[in-house]
Chain length 148, copies 3
């Protein structure tokens, strides 16, 4: 299942309140502010089938990420894909390191509910694009290997 | 296994320090303060067999939740049920979205230790009651489907 | 697989920026500052085969922990072991309560990628040493029980 994940980080301005789908709830620490070490972002981000932000949202990703490297950008994610469409209903729970310097990064699908009842697998992420500090898009390939 | 989870959020007053079992470690962001988007709460909450706060604590839930929707309350949880009674010893690790607008919300039990060694399953939550901003109680139904 | 995990928490001084591998991104709450309730630490900590900090790093642990008890120290962890050596490549995703008053604490290995593809198991932690507020070392014994 190939998906696109769009993160529009709140830039703090009044007019961005409508569009933004994520916000930093803890600021970068003083350890390594250049790579935003420690910055913690809570999100409720739209998921689309193709790479268009304005395509129908087939799911939402609800969760958080934070940056955790001193010398370069790298992040750690935990989130739930919440499907609520005619095609799928249910959730898929995902966690792992988003090792941003690598082209493809594998996270673990650790459980699911509804149509994804108990399903485990791998979520492979690629950075599809980013625009400045406040928007990035990931290509996410979900492979489920096991159900019971 | 049916349990009740009690969250008594610290209201900031000196006299609440004895009773409170959770506290906000990050405040709501400016993105959507009305639904407390981004507020992050760390908890060590008591678990009881029935819905009485003063019943024996058969376990504790240690973990965190945060609010992650702009238009209404909705949360995301990760926590460990820590059992330490004559009946059960061990832990059960749980994560997932608490989609508060829905009557019943399913989270994933992703692993366990001790009596719950390697057990996976589903934790179904229902809001049993809430009192203002500082207390809520969840009915939690744990179903374990797999051990090894 | 026996490993050692080293956490060198940033003490806030300029000269510690080189050595520190973790930093508090949220401070302890006022609920119980004595046991650092609510303090949230993001880390990218080295993993060694033996207990020497300057031994080769066979992996990194990227993730977070926070303190969550009022009366004593106790913590909750979620992290990814990132292996990138001649011996192992891949990740192992771990979460659970670090019940610090107990000698041995078991967390869940909930998934993995690469050499640890889909592997689940138990990560047993022991405090090996600590030095003041800014360094501790855990002995970590990883047992994987299941692959597919």
């Amino acid at each position: 299942m190939q998906l696109y994940y769009h993160d529009k980080l709140f830039d703090g301005t009044h007019k961005d309140k409508t569009n933004a789908t994520s916000a930093a709830t803890a600021n970068p620490t003083k350890l390594a502010p250049g790579s935003q070490f420690g910055m913690l972002v809570v999100f409720n981000d739209p998921i689309t089938r193709d790479d268009k932000y304005h395509s129908p949202h087939i799911a939402n990703a609800q969760g958080f990420y934070f940056y955790d490297r001193k010398d370069t950008y790298s992040a750690w994610f935990a989130f739930t894909l919440v499907f609520n469409s005619s095609e799928h209903r249910g959730t898929s729970n995902i966690m792992g390191a988003d090792l941003m310097p690598e082209k493809t990064r594998d996270l673990s699908v650790v459980g699911g509910t509804g149509d994804f009842f108990m399903a485990r697998g791998i979520a492979s992420l690629q950075t599809d694009t980013f625009q400045g500090q406040y928007y990035f898009r990931l290509k996410m390939d979900i492979k489920l290997y096991e159900r019971c």
